[in-house]
Symmetry: C2
Subunit: 353 residues, 2 copies
């Protein structure tokens, strides 16, 4: 992996983004912001599954007026997502938000941006310059690539902010197309010092969208880019947070909850491995500790992977060997495998708690 | 994206792998190979969803004896997966398979490998040198990294093959750990000319496993590596093929079936977008043409993304505007959106068929 780019650190509430700290996971509420109760309830569910920063849409003054109440009800930093109307950004800052997201595609009037920056500076509220492929500023130059237009839009707004001596900046350049997105982030990473918020925009429903996001966000993280990530999925926002951690876990950038190694099964397998893996996964969902468990179907890679995990099952014909930290501890019938493994998981959880 | 590495092309049956042709999608049957009927039935389901090469396990001589019957029943090239016993490889070649996979971790006796190579050469059957992190050859040198051990295992067996003037070679170096896997492939890609079969081994159940595979395989494809891919998931093998295409589609490396752009929804959305996107996705599943459809919740990125797609919906309050190739064609009530969109999809499919 490429060594991580060290960006300038900023603080969104009490969460540091950038400067080499671990990558921060965020999501966005899907409730109507003016429905304070529903929004707080959803954010609390997101906090419980590891969301570290939450963003809410601020489409109108009613929504802006609810931000302070939402902030009181939640424990993680609150970011207001603003489009079109800079006055909503001013109201959000007054409401006590921990961060703003502005879209240079639809808040481009320098006088309006300046008003927001003055207020943000006074309260030390960071601003994300959030460019999106679907809402780029108009251009007369048809020859410019989408990547160039994205980078130019961001750099234009960054300059406005810097000219007012404001540097609490975070940047995103999201598109649906993965190579476009990666190229845009790579380009801007080389020409400005601020932290990067990564995402693939409008990536779709959880099935396809988590794969597209994993390819795009994963490639950028592999290349050393990214200080915070948001996976955008058309589904429950807890799925966004779960997918974000899976991406980070697969690059060893964050640890959260169990990791399951399981083989795809093949004609060599002599147990019902798919059911076994599903049963283990279901019961492991209740485990919050970062335990690595392997569920393996045969003698080819089974013992190797099972020994490499904290706990592992390597199956043979109708039976399975259970390994703990590389040591074979017992061999049990297929029907007893899940219970025996989970008893060992419980022991291990107690030991490390 | 990095320009694709051009490997030496080989032919697995009538499918070319390497040499710059599009990345080939493969999977592995999960049936008992000796159950010819179940295996052929599963492979036919995989063919129908785009699988282009199929591998089956050959754990014993009974399985080896069934390969010719399986080959007669299917339309895509058949690869025999061999571990431990080189005589099964000889039997598979006699049975008419289109390719072999040998594991240097458990078939390392040069005399045995030589016998297989002679038979493979006679019938021009390619061999995949398939190294797996869970079954590496033993080593006395504890200081070697897993990456080094994987690369050395592969290069050792490649040398045996080359020394017998055999070059119908494909190489894989799969591990569960993504950075390890990517590093191993990057290393070997620079020191030998053969095509690469990419995969993240034992990546888990479809939820986590497809994300881990997307990060790993996606990063390698982004770096220009890879001639064929297999996503290993503990689940139905059609899920492996679907995930493989989603990975390839997100890097614009293959086109297959529809692509859906849909926004994650937020407090700005005034329709039930999640249900709408799910309904569209369900009905698009029957469309085999590569149509890009956008389902967008609001005016921020909605019109931009909807215009960029072949067909798109950009929603407002209880209504949606439908775009075809960038042109607004009508605005309809939320309840009529799916039917109106799908009527347009049908028209487009007829027009391009």
């Amino acid at each position: 992996m490429t060594e991580r780019r060290v960006s300038r650190a900023i603080r969104i509430g009490d969460v540091t983004v950038g400067g080499g700290v671990p990558v921060v996971v965020q999501s966005m509420a899907k409730t109507h912001t003016a429905d304070v109760r529903a929004t707080v309830e959803q954010v609390k569910r997101l906090e419980a599954c590891g969301c570290e920063i939450i963003r809410v849409a601020v489409p109108d003054s009613e929504a802006a007026g609810c931000l302070s109440a939402i902030k009181k009800g939640i424990s993680i930093p609150l970011v207001a997502d603003i489009h079109f109307d800079h006055r909503l950004a001013l109201a959000a800052i007054k409401g006590g938000v921990d961060g703003l997201r502005l879209n240079p595609g639809n808040i481009s009037d320098p006088a309006h941006v300046a008003k927001v920056v003055r207020a943000a500076k006074e309260r030390q509220v960071p601003i994300r310059v959030g460019v999106n492929g679907g809402s780029l500023p108009k251009t007369d130059d048809e020859s410019l690539s989408v990547v160039t237009r994205m980078v130019q839009a961001a750099m234009g707004q960054i300059k406005l902010l810097e000219d007012m001596d404001f540097d609490l900046i975070k940047v995103s350049l999201k598109a649906f197309d993965v190579p476009t997105t990666v190229e845009a982030y790579k380009t801007i990473a080389g020409i400005m010092p601020y932290p990067l918020h990564l995402g693939i925009t409008e990536s779709g429903t959880p099935g396809c969208g988590s794969i597209r996001s994993a390819v795009g966000i994963g490639a950028m993280l592999y290349l050393g880019l990214g200080d915070t990530i948001r996976v955008s999925l058309t589904g429950d926002p807890t799925e966004e947070v779960a997918a974000a951690y899976e991406i980070l876990k697969s690059l060893n950038l964050r640890v959260r909850g169990p990791t399951m190694v399981s083989c795809p099964t093949c004609g060599r397998t002599e147990v019902d491995l798919i059911s076994l893996a599903q049963a283990v996964e279901k019961r492991m969902a209740a485990v919050s500790r970062p335990i690595k468990v392997a569920v393996m179907g045969c003698v080819v890679n089974g013992p190797g992977e099972a020994k490499d995990a904290d706990l592992g099952i390597a199956c043979g014909r109708g039976r399975g060997a259970i390994f703990r930290k590389g040591e074979l501890i017992c061999t049990v019938d297929e029907k007893d495998l899940v219970d025996t493994l989970m008893a060992e998981v419980d022991k291990l959880v107690r030991a490390i708690s």
